[in-house]
Symmetry: C2
Subunit: 199 residues, 2 copies
DNA sequence: AAATTTTTTGAACGCCGTTCAATATTTTGC
DNA sequence: GCAAAATATTGAACGGCGTTCAAAAAATTT
């Protein structure tokens, strides 16, 4: 039984990620406490630190899981074979829909900060890249003149802009957009942007 | 000497805001500690809670000060009498410049969250409105067809989008834009957006 | 100048993430 | 199978945090 220990370990990790995810979904990142999450996972406080380096690393695992779901939602929202403008609009609506339906987990993706000087591991950074990759497809049709590097950069900018509109509407307490207006406002915004990007 | 007490009080508040501002500028919001800030202001730990309700309220004062400086920077970057497209471009560059030169204080404006359920006081919310007001001027020339309500909403969206691009480049650890490329990328983005917005 | 009110003080509280000596469990060697 | 060695789990304890509040100091009134 060489794999038995490893299996128990993985089982503990999974229980902790599940518990942490539930806790963030219920009370946001600030509601995630080491004592509560270990109690919910059915292990001792110290066990968390045998499974993960620290709480931040556990959060990264929850965030990677959220990113995978977000990626799936975007793919589902954006069927192949439509024009680039429709694809952009569909991706944006998919993003808005995911944010609305997974508010706290989605917010955790962007509000979580690692301590100064420490950066996320490679496997987690890669999970973020899929968001950009989805935009590159329609954008490359919209702007066939751009080389891959410029395309990548422009895709990052488009993502950042749409994310900015959604994030400000949902988490900004000052510059507020009513949530029911958000899909429409994002649609108008992406329309204007793709029109301006088209050439 | 009726005003003497009040004067001392205001002096203490000012010293605390100064110290907090310096501390945030040096180490970000996470670097602001009650014990350090009161030591720097030359008062006892408990004095902070006689001057402000809590640390959050002190942060709001620092943020309002930053907003006033940001507003001044935007006005300086955007001289009257130019066309709407140039004005939009100038405002965006002013915003980028301020964020680059006041990184941590600017980041504190958007990363600070009050505890769940508690909302900022009216005087602080108003300080945020000036950002939107600056955008409304050129936008109303670009889109004379929009009524004031729609204009306000569209201005919020434009601000959120530009802020999103700047914020993701500066604070996002995953979707990264090199800082030296940021002004150019924002310029291209705002160009595309105003082109698409023009009608 | 004594009595009263107001302000300032910093030790103490409760909660947090994290550590680590002690305990319990599993694996190894015979 | 069982004792010995290796490994994993435990939760009390630690240091640091924001915040409070009884006590001390200062200012005001009588």
């Amino acid at each position: 039984m060489a794999g038995l220990r490893e299996e128990k370990r993985d089982n503990l990790k999974m229980r902790l990620i599940d518990a942490a995810e539930a806790q963030i979904a219920a009370g946001g990142l600030a509601g995630l406490k080491a004592r509560e999450v270990t109690a919910a996972a059915g292990c001792a406080l110290g066990a968390l630190y045998t499974a993960f380096e620290d709480l931040d690393r556990l959060i990264l695992h929850v965030n990677s899981r959220t990113l995978a779901r977000l990626n799936a939602a975007l793919e589902a929202a954006c069927p192949a074979g439509q024009g680039p403008k429709q694809a952009m609009a569909a991706l944006a609506q998919g993003y808005v829909g995911f944010a609305l339906q997974n508010y706290r987990l989605w917010a955790a993706l962007f509000s979580h900060r690692l301590p100064a000087g420490i950066q996320a591991p490679e496997w987690h950074i890669k999970d973020h890249a899929v968001l950009i990759a989805q935009i590159i497809r329609p954008l490359s049709q919209l702007r066939p003149d751009l080389d891959p590097t410029a395309l990548q950069q422009r895709a990052r900018t488009v993502f950042s802009a749409v994310h900015g509109v959604v994030a400000m509407a949902m988490t900004g307490r000052y510059v507020t957009t009513p949530q029911e207006d958000l899909p429409g406002e994002v649609a108008a915004f992406v329309d204007a942007l793709t029109l301006g990007l088209a050439d």
